[in-house]
Subunit: 328 residues, 2 copies
């Protein structure tokens, strides 16, 4: 691969001039410009991003760490981040931490050594250490990280509250709550919302904790439903769990929504395509990813240091797993 001095030689100018041409910085005469363009074409030259990064300490890389690529919520989120980043001239490095702290730290380290311009994290670090000893901008997405780090989340408490309330309004009196991992802040906020909605209403509750994953939720729900046939409603903290629960209900021959009503959380595309289609507390996934990226880029480009945390409103999507049917 040709380098900048090959170009300079061929164009009969100095590397400095070529560099100026490439970066549109400083003056470049008409004649030189033409020669340089010609040389670049002839040599099929592309500047090395690596060398440039080394001197400028800047890059157009944004690292995105997600915990579980197999939960469709995260690909959809990644899609939004990628779209937005792309539109601003950044390239996204997507890493899958697998809910594994070690793997996550490995990625954070690997990425920061590579001079990513910034990091978007969807993760479980409750310690404050990471924010501080890393000198690049970070934005937390979906799950708050710590007070000093801008965070973009859905109003989880509210979401859980309206989801649960809707179940209760629809006549459910014995709810199974399928929560997510307790280590994650958003789980706890949703728990809070759930309990607020339940409070004072005469409903019985059962709690299980599940990964946001079809299989796990299906198995857990199957067992719980067998042990407690009186359960007539399920509120799941993710659509993935809800869909697993739906499967369990089918296996047990329970009619949804007649015998059992289900409300999920997330609003992934897949919710529309299962049968019956899933009533859910939808997060505005695209907006979530978009805002996180915008905030990060603002920080990277130094345009703003104070665009802090944002909460995005969830919205109840009424579909077919609850009795009071709405539009498809």
């Amino acid at each position: 691969m040709a380098n900048i001095s090959d170009v300079a030689k061929l164009a009969n100018v100095s590397v400095a001039t070529v560099s100026r041409y490439l970066n549109n910085s400083g003056y470049v005469g008409k004649k030189s410009r033409a020669q340089i363009e010609e040389a670049i074409k002839q040599l099929n030259y592309t500047p090395s991003e690596v060398a440039r990064t080394l001197t400028t300490k800047q890059s157009d890389l944004i690292g995105l760490i997600i915990p579980d690529i197999n939960n469709p919520f995260f690909p959809e989120l990644a899609r939004a981040v990628e779209d937005t980043a792309f539109r601003h001239g950044y390239t996204v490095i997507l890493c899958n931490s697998d809910e594994d702290i070690e793997k996550e730290q490995h990625y954070i380290k690997a990425l920061s050594k590579k001079y990513v311009a910034g990091l978007i994290l969807t993760t479980i670090l409750d310690q404050d250490n990471y924010s501080n000893n890393l000198s690049i901008p970070i934005v937390a997405l979906d799950r708050p990280l710590n007070v000093n780090i801008p965070t973009v989340t859905t109003d989880n408490e509210k979401g859980a509250k309206i989801g649960t309330q809707y179940l209760i309004e629809n006549g459910v009196s014995n709810i199974l709550c399928i929560s997510g991992p307790k280590s994650v802040t958003s789980t706890n906020l949703r728990l809070k919302g759930f309990f607020k909605a339940v409070e004072g209403n005469n409903v019985e509750i059962h709690m299980v904790e599940s990964k946001h994953d079809f299989q796990t939720a299906e198995q857990l729900t199957y067992e719980t439903l067998q042990a407690h046939p009186e359960i007539d409603g399920i509120f799941a903290f993710s659509d993935a769990s809800a869909i697993g629960a739906l499967k369990a209900a089918h296996r047990l021959g329970l009619k949804v929504p007649e015998q059992l009503q289900i409300v999920g959380f997330d609003g992934i595309q897949m919710g529309k395509v299962v049968t019956p289609s899933l009533t859910t507390v939808a997060q505005d996934i695209y907006k979530l990813g978009e805002r996180a990226t915008q905030i990060l880029i603002e920080q990277i480009e130094g345009k703003s240091t104070n665009s802090f945390s944002e909460q995005i409103e969830p919205q109840l999507l009424i579909r077919e797993t609850t009795k009071e049917r709405g539009p498809l």
Copy 2:
């Protein structure tokens, strides 16, 4: 951030010695070693991957370009690639080309400027140009690229053949074939297999072309099924399409598998969780990703130049969308 010469100074040795220590190349005395370790600890030093890449022209980055992150097949594939890469000390950069050639080329260019060590492509480039003017190892995954590039695929023709045959054996006489985009090689191979299976058997066929995406397939199937109520079997070229088709069947009140049998292709996790669970021609997704990565790494590390294309056997997973029920 501290750099190598800070470490050298603090340890009272030269940068060369530190470098030798870091890379385990050449001799480093006991005393120096200890001092260096101490200095590194004190300064919290990590070598800059960027600088290293610049001189060595090597990196531990593997670029993976997938066409559609929202089709669960690809996240599962990405997972496999990532796992394998991680185990070998490589980091995966995942890019989503969105089936968009421009975006894809942008990513290929961006990645090659960053000295990725190699590239895994899942893509639609029928032209040969890319293989040649890029000097890094490439492996094509899921879709063959061109003869000079190692390729890891499922035996698509065979897969389509056994899927279709199974449908016919189960008494289907009027098949709707939901193919994928014709621009992709694997689609054409599957078409070939489909036609081979159909040939000579007295079945009627309908063809539609769909993206591998729930919504599109659902809509298309809905329309086709309405126009042709005599259809009693569907073979879809992806599980995503098959699941969309299943939804369409539900909307039309058709009983699956009694009135309509469905076979998908891919073997994604989700197939298990829909109701009824999806009979499908399963690709060995993990193996697909694993082998592609292994072959790429072999090429990167120069261990092998001739480990060429591999085909992986598909396997029919009999579940509930076909009449002859197998194990769950």
